[in-house]
């Protein structure tokens, strides 16, 4: 274990390698691709949330000069119920394809129905208005509560609930449902444990559908080569896992016939883990024989991509009078959108994650509704049950007359505790985070002003890890080029270059990092799940060590001595045996690099790994709010994130992840949600009406960074991308309760929702009743 190692570069704050390109406008993002003879695509989208598509007439559009092709689902091969893949992620071709173009039914407002390619974007826009679609409108199902009722309209007539462990079903119950699956995680005996509790709190919670809100809309450009191979320029979090392989399945061509080129990516947060534009651009390009670019508008991004699941959670928690939490239970229903695959699994796996509770039971339901298919969003599925858990703990603390942080510390999980999913917790900083939060200047400060309140909440995320294929080459001018397959979404290249500089001792500035296309590097997992900076740095650490060993061997060969006589100095120079004058022979890194040709050829390092570097991360957030009781508006006065990051490789980017994630969580807690009318029409598909925090809505976000090394990583690093979005909803809700004595049980706590609760508290009529 090298975690006590003193670092020279790791922990400093150099300028990112791709920085200059990004402050001068030179960096090429997906939508910046421009190819000769390129066509522009636009989509026809369903104006109905739930409808059978009876006919599509494209003749008028095709007659418009400049229109080169129109496609529908019928242009894709084999839209049928054939299974794709095996295991829990398996789906059918129909499900896979109908997410980006409707097959027989439109399943949400904004569902693509047809795609046009034209010589100019304005002509494509004109053309979509000429496509005539005949619909038979059906009743939409917009909420999980409605979708789970026995008389609810059904989205997919073939759907049956997948039960835990494939439990057999009664043949009489074999009827269509909107409940795609039910999962259960149990530990101990909850039913019996309630009897041991002195105090039990119970509540219901709702969270809204929220979008990841990346500023760059989805885009893809496709080009077919004369040999029948396909080139895709894409803004995606994973060029292999998200673009190349699923596209090969959809188009029924071998994956090696697709070259996916990663462009700079303007934010993803999990939302760029799905295919939308790529298959449509590909099929249009195939039909026209020309390159086709498809870029979504912002309205389309909100209508038809992203969102994280809205949820409905019923929670129950019980404790003894001494504060020991004995049992906890969740019943959780998650909106999956129009196809299965909500974050309910993540939510269940992380539920009660900061606490050691001997008896827990979580029932989770993945429920389809007429909304866009949910996509991953930063710690997918976890903020909602954390909001519920942290609210219940505050309620328990109040009933027990305990200080909320003390009750949390008393029940904190620690190394060796077992979780309901079977995981035994390794070394990590849950208790340290709680203690640090309690001792922080923010927590100890006095809170003044009217209708102000303070809240805390904890968070837990189990970071992922994946496959990486990485090459690094020593250039003859003494620089090193690193080639990776994991896209850089927010400073990754800096941590990769720093790792090489750390191990070799050469200047950070002499390292170039490039993200390669799928023809140029081995399979690499998508950039997601807080697994990438830790996974690539652990891999590059080994690659740099290989280079070091090989260069020592080469120096030994040049000096005609044994490797044992060659020493690698901290400044990357090499010292060998004594020369004639009695002084040891020396060579700089650069001198050695310039001699590689002629002494045995190039030196490089390489790794292919599926190595596990993930592990738990913990955080605790404190927030001070002020509530305007006349309007229901909440202002964030002060915000602090305490996080165990293992080792902050580049502290500025670590802080940036924590601050950005907290800001997104603040949006989910206060202002962001999808607003559908009773026909299932989305009424706020713009960045004015879907209200993300602006610079004016937020204070500075303070970060307290703890470094308790990750035992699974050579430099102790933990992933930090997800964890900061986990606590904010709980912390803000607890702060609002502290401020005005009214606990929001439905988030976002928009002025409208909160004002109703305040008026209710004061015995007055709410906004709805009064109007």
């Amino acid at each position: 274990m090298t975690t006590t190692e003193k670092f020279r570069i790791i922990g400093t704050r150099p300028i990112r390698p791709d920085g200059i390109d990004k402050v001068t406008g030179r960096a090429d993002y997906g939508a910046d691709v421009h190819l000769p003879r390129m066509l522009h695509a636009r989509l026809v989208r369903s104006p109905h949330a739930h409808a059978i598509i009876k006919s599509i007439d494209v003749s008028k559009a095709l007659a418009l000069p400049g229109v080169e092709a129109v496609v529908t689902a019928a242009d894709f091969p084999d839209v049928n119920d054939e299974r794709t893949g095996a295991g829990p992620g398996a789906t059918t071709r129909r499900f896979l394809i109908s997410n980006f173009i409707a097959t027989d039914k439109a399943l949400y407002y904004g569902h693509p129905v047809a795609a046009v390619a034209a010589t100019d974007p304005h002509i494509a826009e004109d053309a979509i208005a000429l496509i005539e679609v005949e619909y038979e409108v059906l009743d939409p199902v917009m909420t999980v509560e409605r979708a789970m009722q026995p008389d609810s309209p059904i989205l997919h007539p073939t759907m049956r609930t997948a039960e835990p462990m494939g439990a057999p079903k009664d043949a009489a119950e074999d009827k269509p449902t909107n409940i795609a699956s039910h999962l259960q995680l149990a530990m101990g005996d909850v039913a019996a444990a309630w009897a041991d509790c002195d105090i039990i709190v119970e509540d219901e919670f709702h969270t809204g559908t929220a979008h990841q809100g990346y500023i760059e809309p989805h885009t893809a450009t496709a080009l077919w080569n004369p040999d029948g191979s396909l080139v895709i320029y894409s803004s995606s979090q994973g060029i292999f896992q998200i673009v190349r392989d699923p596209l090969a399945t959809i188009l029924k061509i071998p994956s090696s016939r697709i070259r996916a080129i990663p462009m700079e990516i303007g934010g993803g947060f999990g939302g760029k883990n799905r295919l939308y534009c790529e298959p449509l651009a590909a099929i249009l390009a195939q039909k026209t024989g020309r390159p086709v670019k498809l870029t979504m508008t912002r309205e389309e991004v909100i209508q038809a991509t992203g969102p994280t699941s809205g949820t409905y959670i019923r929670g129950k928690m019980g404790a003894k009078n001494d504060g020991t939490i004995v049992a906890a239970q969740f019943w959780m229903a998650y909106e999956a959108g129009a196809w299965p695959g909500s974050g309910v699994g993540g939510g269940a796996n992380h539920a009660f994650g900061n606490y050691n509770i001997p008896n827990t039971l979580v029932d989770g339901y993945d429920v389809v509704v007429n909304r866009p298919r949910n996509a991953a969003y930063r710690a997918p599925g976890v903020p909602a049950p954390t909001f519920a858990c942290e609210s219940l703990i505050d309620e328990l603390a109040e009933r027990l007359d305990r200080e909320p942080m003390d009750l949390r510390i008393q029940n904190a999980s620690k190394q060796g505790d077992r979780r309901a999913n079977g995981m035994v917790l390794p070394l990590s900083g849950n208790q340290e985070v709680m203690e640090s939060l309690k001792n922080s200047a923010h927590y100890r400060s006095e809170l003044t002003g009217s209708n102000t309140g303070r809240g805390v909440a904890m968070g837990f995320w189990h970071a992922g890890s994946g496959s990486h294929s990485i090459n690094a080459v020593v250039n003859n001018d003494g620089t090193v080029s690193v080639n990776t397959g994991a896209v850089d979404i927010g400073g990754l290249r800096a941590t990769e270059a720093m790792t090489v500089a750390e191990v070799l001792g050469i200047p950070y500035e002499s390292i170039k990092v490039r993200v390669m296309d799928t023809d140029a590097i081995g399979y690499s997992t998508l950039t997601a799940g807080s697994g990438t900076a830790s996974g690539t740095s652990a891999s590059i650490y080994k690659v740099a060590k290989q280079i070091k060993e090989r260069l020592i061997e080469r120096a030994a060969k040049i000096w005609e001595t044994d490797v044992a006589n060659v020493t690698w100095e901290p400044d990357a120079s090499l010292t060998g045996p004594a020369s004639e004058d009695g002084k040891p022979k020396t060579m700089t890194f650069r001198q050695l690099a310039s001699q590689l040709q002629g002494t045995g050829g190039p030196v490089s390092g390489h790794i292919d790994t599926g190595g596990a570097t993930g592990g738990p991360t913990y955080a605790g957030h404190i927030v001070d709010v002020q509530v305007d009781t006349d309007t229901g508006k909440v202002t964030i006065l002060r915000y602090t994130c305490v996080t165990d990051v293992g080792k902050a490789m580049h502290p500025s980017y670590v802080e940036g992840q924590l601050q950005g994630g907290a800001a997104q969580g603040i949006g989910m807690a206060l202002t962001e949600e999808y607003f559908y009318d009773d026909k299932g029409v989305l009424r706020n598909a713009s960045l004015l009406d879907y209200r993300m925090p602006t610079a004016l809505d937020l204070p500075m976000i303070d970060t307290i960074v703890l470094e308790i090394p990750n035992p699974g990583h050579p430099m102790g690093v933990r992933g930090v991308g997800e964890i900061p979005i986990v606590p904010p909803m709980g912390a803000i809700s607890n702060a609002i309760a502290d401020a005005i004595g009214v606990r929001p049980r439905s988030l976002p706590a928009t002025p409208r929702v909160l004002l109703d609760q305040i008026l209710d508290r004061d015995g007055e009529k709410g906004v709805d009743a009064a109007s």
Partner: protein, 156 residues
């Protein structure tokens, strides 16, 4: 069918004559006709600031200006901020302070902050936040962007 138009503007200090569709916004003309793709599109309706440019001394969202309005206009985009090949103080502090993660919002923030410091060289934190409220960043939580602007103002 729409018409083609010819527009003469001074863009980043260079007199440029370009052809556009009469329906093109300035954003489309800059990106698709002139090739200045540093100007970004986040929303195309004035709500994100990714497309910000300085037009005749005023900060505007180029998605809300028609190309046809730009005859004889003087326009500065992110590509035109550097002076004699040197990064401006703001570009430098954005790099040093890690005021970008994905970087898609950065061109708009740099242009808007440049306009702010010209108009008000020593803004308070609140003034910076107020001025930049028209620019959305989803990655950073704004903290490091605000500090980069403060640091640039201190160095001026």
């Amino acid at each position: 069918m729409s018409q083609r138009i010819i527009v003469n503007s001074n863009i980043n200090g260079e007199n440029i004559e370009f052809m556009a569709d009469e329906r093109d916004s300035l954003l489309e003309a800059l990106r698709d006709r002139i090739g200045l793709t540093g100007v970004k599109e986040g929303c195309n309706n004035g709500n994100c600031g990714a497309c910000a440019v300085i037009m005749d001394g005023r900060l505007v969202n180029s998605c809300c200006v028609m190309a046809a309005e730009c005859q004889d206009a003087s326009i500065t985009t992110v590509e035109g901020l550097e002076k004699d090949g040197q990064l401006t103080t703001l570009q430098q502090t954005f790099l040093e302070d890690a005021a970008l993660q994905c970087g898609i919002c950065t061109p708009g923030f740099l242009v808007a902050a440049t306009a702010l410091l010209e108009f008000n060289p020593h803004p308070t934190e609140h003034e910076i936040r107020f001025w930049l409220a028209g620019n959305l960043c989803r990655c950073t939580g704004y903290d490091k962007i605000i500090r980069a602007v403060q640091h640039a103002a201190e160095r001026a």
